[in-house]
């Protein structure tokens, strides 16, 4: 927990530094018609650097030994994260509906170990219902791929 906490504070300090750098480029003073673009971000970032420095000091002085995440906890978290990331990447190529079907199917089968019948039914039904609600009912378009193009959408 301590290391993760200190690391986060350090990252925030760094981010604050980057913002200060950009704010100075934009101008932090008084322009022709009021404060320049960098004025507000500059002071926010200065405060962020100070705050995260204090958090860093506070963390390093504490003596918490609890781990940020245990191996048993990280497993399921990654099992959600990496298929979701793959699914989002797939959306660029095959559209949201097909990617969702594959993601739902994969997760239910590989993690939930549900029967094939249930997996296939739900993996097809959920994207289909989403399609009906968004594309046909509320006319909100989602990313589509070759399958939808073939079907004429």
């Amino acid at each position: 927990m301590r290391i993760a906490d200190a690391l986060t504070a350090a990252v925030l300090m760094l981010a604050g530094g980057v913002v200060i750098f950009d704010a100075v480029r934009l101008g932090i003073g008084w322009g022709t018609d009021g404060p320049r673009s960098g004025f507000f971000p500059f002071w926010l970032a200065v405060l962020l650097v100070v705050t995260s420095f204090l958090i860093l000091v506070q963390t390093l002085r504490s003596s918490s030994t609890a781990p940020f995440v245990t191996r048993q906890q990280l497993g399921p978290v990654l099992k959600v994260l990496w298929p979701a990331t793959v699914a989002v990447a797939l959306m660029h190529f095959v559209g949201l509906y097909v990617a969702s079907a594959l993601y739902l199917g994969y997760y239910m089968r590989a993690v939930g170990r549900h029967g094939w019948f249930l997996v296939l039914t739900l993996a097809l039904l959920i994207p289909l219902v989403t399609f009906l609600i968004f594309e046909t009912w509320f006319l909100v378009p989602m990313p589509k791929g070759p399958l939808e193009a073939w079907l004429g959408y």
């Binding site: 405060l47 705050t51 989002v88 949201l96 969702s100």
Partner: protein, 506 residues
């Protein structure tokens, strides 16, 4: 005068279409409240794109109804499954779950819903009375006053929010900085884009809400390897009527909870402390405090009344000042802007049918809501019997759809995943998420108010102290910011040993 307007509002709220919208909103809201990982804020965020084509009044009724539904739904999981759906239903689990284990789940649920309803009604009545007055005062506000109120909003997270004040401050600053990314509308310059075209649009708070609260919450809940151990309910009309016969006995708790809820609620982040405070008071004044925590009905009544009263009260600053009291209200405020309405005191003058329709719909929505949840408990509880391996990917897909629909941009879906990871890490490290979201929403408004104030004063910060209203509010805000520093010092002065900072969620 006020009554006339309210009647006008009821004429708007009680059209068949708006009633159907309310029923749909409450149903979806209750489902969202019951589902782990989805709460009021991201439920409203996901649904927001669907309202773009609706008339604004129906749209706000849909979103507020969803919010009431989510508030009711949180109680179901707390009592039957010992899983607080929202931080403010944590206190409901203390006595709700033991009651359910003893086979009194029906009684506990009836008490929870009825208390929620009473608390909500109390707050709505106060909103009806005070909203026009507050809007009238707010009409006289200039940029310095608005900036002072923003300052007060954020200072109360630091000073009164509980948890680590430094981390609350860091969250606020991160929110404001993220909000500043992209085009500066005043000077037309690009800020913090570092030449990346995708960053020009900046970060949309809706995507941030869906990622931080939706995906982040899912990651956090799978960590525990979730298995639900639900208690059975015997819920029928008989139980409901029997419970209603007992409830008037706790009228003191109802009154106390309502007042605490309203008072804490119109300040940001108030619902959670309100529910705990109300629970603590009920225990303190009870004739049998030893029964609390083992299944005392009053221990369900107290937090639920306060939490729901606070949840409703959070709408008051949103409609009168244009400053949301909770993340959910913040998302609704974003909706208002998208629908082409200018949030703030002018709404009462420009769009009375919208404001009063909204206030009237709070009455109708909560009446329909309490009846629907009382009838639908077995149905809603059944949702939690859906295996986790089906719910998890389903929620992820719903979140992705909601994020994409905001701007039709795949980039937003990636942001959602990144915000999800940030939300997970921040939650674990006790960085509060609500102030981050609020700062992201209010970023532009706050910056403009600050700029205009400084132009008025030619660059001097003294303008926030010399104008009487702004001065009073700013002073209070500064006091709140300094509270975490002053409290230990004050304790030492009085010879009380300083207590270690306790980490409270929410």
């Amino acid at each position: 005068m006020g009554l006339e307007n309210l009647l006008l509002g009821f004429q708007v709220a009680i059209t068949p279409f708006n009633l159907v919208v309310a029923v749909i909103g409450i149903t979806l809201g209750t489902i969202i409240g019951v589902l782990p990982g989805l709460g009021g804020a991201n439920g409203v965020a996901i649904l927001l794109p669907l309202t773009f084509t609706m008339p604004p009044t129906s749209a706000i009724i849909l979103l507020t109804s969803l919010y009431w539904g989510a508030l009711f739904g949180g109680a179901i999981t707390s009592i039957l499954f010992n899983i607080p759906g929202e931080p403010w239903s944590v206190a409901t689990t203390f006595d709700g779950y033991p009651l359910a284990r003893q086979g009194e789940g029906g009684q506990a649920l009836t008490a929870a819903f009825t208390s929620s309803f009473v608390g909500a009604l109390f707050s709505i009545a106060l909103i009806t009375l005070f909203a026009p007055l507050l809007a009238e005062i707010a009409l006289k506000f200039g940029p310095p006053e608005f900036f002072a109120i923003q300052l007060l909003t954020f200072s109360s997270f630091v000073g009164l929010g509980g948890g680590n004040p430094l981390k609350s401050l860091a969250s606020i600053l991160i929110g404001f900085i993220l909000g500043a990314v992209g085009l500066d509308i005043v000077t037309g310059q690009l800020r913090m884009t570092f030449g990346v075209t995708e960053l020009m649009k900046g970060f949309d708070f809706i995507v941030a809400v869906i990622g931080l609260f939706g995906i982040g919450e899912i990651l956090l809940s799978v960590e525990e390897g979730l298995a639900f151990h639900g208690a059975r309910t015997g819920m029928n009309l008989h139980v409901v009527l029997d419970t209603w016969k007992i409830l008037p006995r706790y009228w003191r708790t109802f009154v106390r909870g309502s007042f605490i809820g309203f008072w804490m609620g119109f300040k940001p982040g108030g619902a959670t402390p309100a529910s705990f405070m109300s629970y603590a008071f009920a225990k303190r004044f009870s004739r049998r405090p030893e029964r609390f925590g083992r299944g005392e009905l009053e221990g369900v009544v107290a937090p639920e009344t306060a939490a729901h009263a606070a949840g409703v009260a959070a709408m008051l600053p949103m409609i009168t000042l244009g400053i949301p009291g909770s993340p959910t209200a913040a998302v609704m405020l974003g909706g208002l802007i998208i629908w082409g309405l200018q949030p703030g005191p002018m709404l009462f003058k420009d769009k009375p049918d919208f404001v009063w329709g909204l206030i009237a719909s709070m009455y109708t929505g909560n009446i329909i809501g309490v009846l629907m949840v009382l009838a639908g408990v077995p149905l809603f509880a059944a949702i939690l019997r859906i295996p986790f391996a089906i719910l998890t990917p389903l929620i992820v897909v719903v979140c992705a759809v909601g994020s994409y629909a905001v701007h039709n941009s795949m980039m937003d879906v990636w942001y959602m995943l990144i915000f999800g990871i940030i939300g997970y890490v921040f939650k674990k490290l006790d960085y509060p998420l609500a102030p981050l979201v609020l700062a992201l929403v209010l970023g532009d408004l706050a910056e403009n108010a600050l700029r205009q104030s400084l132009i008025m004063s030619q660059g001097s910060l003294s303008i926030f102290f010399t104008r009487p209203i702004a001065g009073a509010i700013t002073t209070l805000a500064v006091l709140f910011f300094l509270l975490p520093v002053l409290t230990p010092w004050w304790r030492r002065l009085r010879g009380v040993p300083a207590t270690a900072p306790t980490s409270t969620h929410g």
